[in-house]
């Protein structure tokens, strides 16, 4: 292909993502979500004003991919670490990034209380219904019947309960300014997801408070399907359990 003469680069790597091969499996949603976040960082031109917090989970190495200041947090404590940063640096833009095991299991208390305090941070919650990093155990968000390393016969609500809907849970709190659930199951949905992320950024940049974007995301490896099938399952099986939509919006309220 000869692109040099008549064509110009219309879409390329965002500046704030580092050009490196990630450790993610083929077709993993984390890569898409990283990119979306970095596109918005570039859009707002705030790369040099960010401190982000990476989780323990497959995205633990996010700090290798984001080209802005990034901190590790112990498993599940990401919102507490982000709180500690934002409180002393109120004029920096602070976001945290978490998986479902990190956020909805071990870190349940931290996310609820950060949300309830209305910390001026954005949280990007990657719900792939499984523990990727540790080889595919049940997550709090695993759907009923889902086979995982710890539910070999499928998640049984009688003993393991039901998938937790975190947006719905957080929406009962008064403080959060913006809560939305999106899916990255298709180019269309990815564009919607990007819009949601943009709104989250805006929420913090305009001093409105806590924002939370849940992104339904595929884990082809531990769903044990290929990446294309994973995207289809995301639509067919996850979205019905985790309905997309806006659960809180400071712009609607005023």
């Amino acid at each position: 292909m000869d692109t040099s003469s008549s064509m110009e680069l219309a879409y390329g790597k965002p500046d704030s993502i580092r050009r490196t091969r990630t450790h993610y499996c083929a077709g993993c949603g984390h890569g898409i979500i990283h990119r979306l976040i970095c596109e918005i960082v570039d859009e707002f031109g705030i790369r040099e004003n960010i401190v982000s917090v990476a989780p323990v989970g497959c995205a633990v190495l996010a700090y290798d991919y984001f080209d802005f200041d990034t901190c590790e947090a112990p498993h599940g404590r990401t919102p507490a670490v982000a709180t500690g940063i934002k409180r002393v640096l109120p004029d920096r833009f602070v976001f945290s990034y978490q998986g479902d095991g990190d956020l909805a299991a071990i870190g349940t208390a931290e996310i609820i209380h950060a949300a309830n305090r209305g910390e001026h941070i954005c949280v990007f919650f990657v719900n792939n219904a499984v523990y990727g990093m540790t080889q595919g155990q049940m997550a709090p968000t695993s759907i009923v019947g889902q086979q995982t390393a710890t539910t070999p016969n499928g998640r049984d609500p009688k003993t393991e309960g039901y998938p937790i809907r975190v947006c719905e849970l957080l929406a009962t709190l008064e403080a959060p300014a913006y809560i939305e659930r999106v899916a990255i199951s298709s180019p269309q949905n990815i564009r919607r997801a990007k819009k949601a992320i943009r709104k989250a950024f805006k929420t913090q940049l305009e001093g409105k408070g806590f924002s939370f974007i849940e992104l339904l995301s595929p884990c082809p490896t531990y769903w044990r399907v290929d990446p294309i099938v994973a995207m289809k399952e995301l639509e067919k099986r996850m979205i019905p359990v985790f309905p997309l939509g806006i659960f809180k919006d400071w712009e609607q309220e005023t």
Partner: protein, 80 residues
């Protein structure tokens, strides 16, 4: 009219760009890169529309999209 370029070293052969290309302009190549993957290849003949589906869904930022200058604005919007 537009075109894409696959950055072979980053492609993981997930096939998502192929699945979502409305013009079927992408397919898995025969070549194996040093990571053991067979990067997607672009078929110029397939009239790439510059829709940005492939760049939107590629999990590995392994696709660059090129467009004629005048089309650029529209494309940028689409990729969002």
């Amino acid at each position: 009219m537009a075109a894409v370029r696959i950055l072979e070293e980053y492609c993981k052969s997930c096939g998502l760009c192929i699945e979502f290309c409305p013009r079927s302009a992408l397919s898995l190549g025969a070549n194996i890169n040093r990571h053991g993957c067979r990067p997607a290849v672009f078929d110029e003949s397939k009239q790439c529309s510059g829709c940005g589906n492939c760049t939107a869904i590629c999990p590995d930022v392994a696709i660059e999209l090129y467009a004629r200058v005048k089309a650029e604005a529209a494309v940028k919007k689409a990729s969002r």
